[in-house]
Symmetry: C5
Subunit: 165 residues, 5 copies
């Protein structure tokens, strides 16, 4: 990640899809604004999740984003899970090639019992990963105080398990 | 993607197979013509879906296509799903290496209850992804007004879910 | 693919295994001979399908083959399917790196009810993909008149589905 | 791995997550301290297992670690297994590119019947792989006397099977 | 593979694990000795199968081995199969990058009904693949006379199926 001298803004990429039933972009944007870091947001919209990896790569390389949040929705069928696996594998490859993080916000349609819950999971997960993106921009130990705490995005935290060390 | 000065045509690649039971090329071609962008279409036909990735790569690199639509049909058996996964993974790799989109139009034979429905899904999905290819050629925010709208190709749109932001 | 001036022969690689219960090499060779293109055939034998990808790569790079036909047999167990997936993924990678086709002739032992049918599937698939290899050597539109025709290798063609365009 | 002249310290990277319900870092640290090799430990915390591969790569390349221990927890659902597969595949790629080991300490939540057992598995596996990391730093035959002994991390050793050679 | 002038020895790498319940190294070594080719053996021991790919790569590149035999054991659980898939995929990648063979000797614990059979499968498979490694070192057509013969490692050969050509 490039050094930030306090003057320059970070650039946060957001890639999203027309397939998704929830427009999650505003939740990421809100997280960035609320965290008050100097950052601009760049957006790239594609048809579906399998189109996200190359969009992420172009946000990172063509648009020089420091980090990307990839917003996608995954259908209920077995073939949809396969597609999400292909998308995620591509996203892994982009991260490794560019050495930069891409936070994956994938909402699985079978996670929710109805549209209300679907919306609520999407909002929560997108917002929290927006905050995670900001934390990762700040450095590799920003999240360390929260390591092993059983944090979750899209639902309640599971919490930590303690025992004898 | 190369800059287009209004004089030069875009080049859209279409890769298809002899395995497919539907000739989907005309539907992509129609989408390109109806969208009235200056574009030529380059076609590459291979035996089956696992031969598509290298065909796509050659369309992008040898024939200098700006984008590719990959048309394939997937059988009903478990092994056919595995083949589609291998093809899709290859297509992911080509996209990432070339930094250009490949829109995958894969028709799964178990999506349709009969030949009529199979044809109809194929036509709809190929045509709509032809339009998506044109949109992606125009820029990364062309599809943004439709982000999160629950759009589908090959069937009816699922539509957006709204809630409190 | 290198240009062929009519004097030089094409070089067709064939990779096969000691695991396979059918020696499929002669069927590919017959397809090449019957098609009367100027071509020599180079053969590489390995233990099993997971050894095929590197053999294919060596046929393409060390032996300068223009195309390769990979002949393999896959057992009935779940782990055998996994092995075939690993082999196929490797073959995808070789194709993309070399920009040349590798036609995969994989016979799954659970496709056939007895040894006779196994032999017959293997002969048919190897022969037809031998012909496909020759067609692909000739150019990217040689198979185009047969696109969307529901062709099959190893069994009867499924045939095309037509409808209103 | 770089040569160690006895003066320079080894550098051991530890990547962990906020998703994990157990903070496993101290167990790795204890293994390193108890083994009394000259080593410093570098830590990188990310949200979940799919963020680990790029963190590992940055520990190896940016921070010049000699080896990395990747600490992750995997949920009980099928989709969680898929995520762990994507994370592990990414970790494989990082190892191969950097030619250095990354020891994966992944705790699957369905391995344990309750929180106590979960903690105990996590502690045992993290500690033992901390020792394995130290052994691998020393050379490729350090673990050879223990080859084929049925060793396990996170549970009791399975032990060796002997027979006629 | 480097040329061998009859004076220089081949170098055969063997990578194995502490997880395996059978020490398979001696069986490979015996195959090499009995085949009487001029060869030395280089060994690298790691904790488990997912650590094998980078060990293989180091044997091939750092130690200049001409070929590697990778000895691993795979547990009975579904997650163990996933691990073996990740290990095998990594091994594929190493082969393709180095253009050299890695013969995978993976023993699945659910292949055997008891410890005796487990040992016996391991011994047979490791020994036979030791012989295969020697054959592949000699050239790409050394195994050709045995192509399509239904050979197996770890169990009895399945034998060839013949029919009308």
């Amino acid at each position: 990640m490039r050094e930030n001298d306090g003057l320059n803004k970070y650039k946060i990429g957001v890639a999203d899809t027309t397939f998704s039933r929830v427009d999650m972009f505003p939740f990421v944007e809100r997280a960035v604004i609320e965290s008050k870091i100097p950052a601009s947001v760049e957006r790239y919209t594609v048809p579906g999740i399998k189109d996200l990896p190359v969009a992420c790569k172009r946000l990172l390389l063509d648009d020089q984003c420091d980090i990307v949040v990839a917003l996608g929705m995954v259908g209920k069928e077995k073939i949809d899970k396969q597609c999400s696996h292909e998308a995620s594998s591509g996203i892994q490859n982009v991260q490794l090639e560019t050495m930069r993080h891409i936070l994956e916000v994938f909402i699985h349609m079978d996670e929710a019992k109805d549209d209300n819950e679907l919306f609520s999971i999407a909002r929560n997960r997108a917002y929290k990963h927006g905050l995670n993106a900001v934390a990762l921009l700040k450095g590799k130990d920003t999240l360390t105080p929260r390591a092993g705490k059983g944090l979750r995005q899209g639902k309640d935290d599971a919490g930590p398990v303690q025992g004898a060390t």
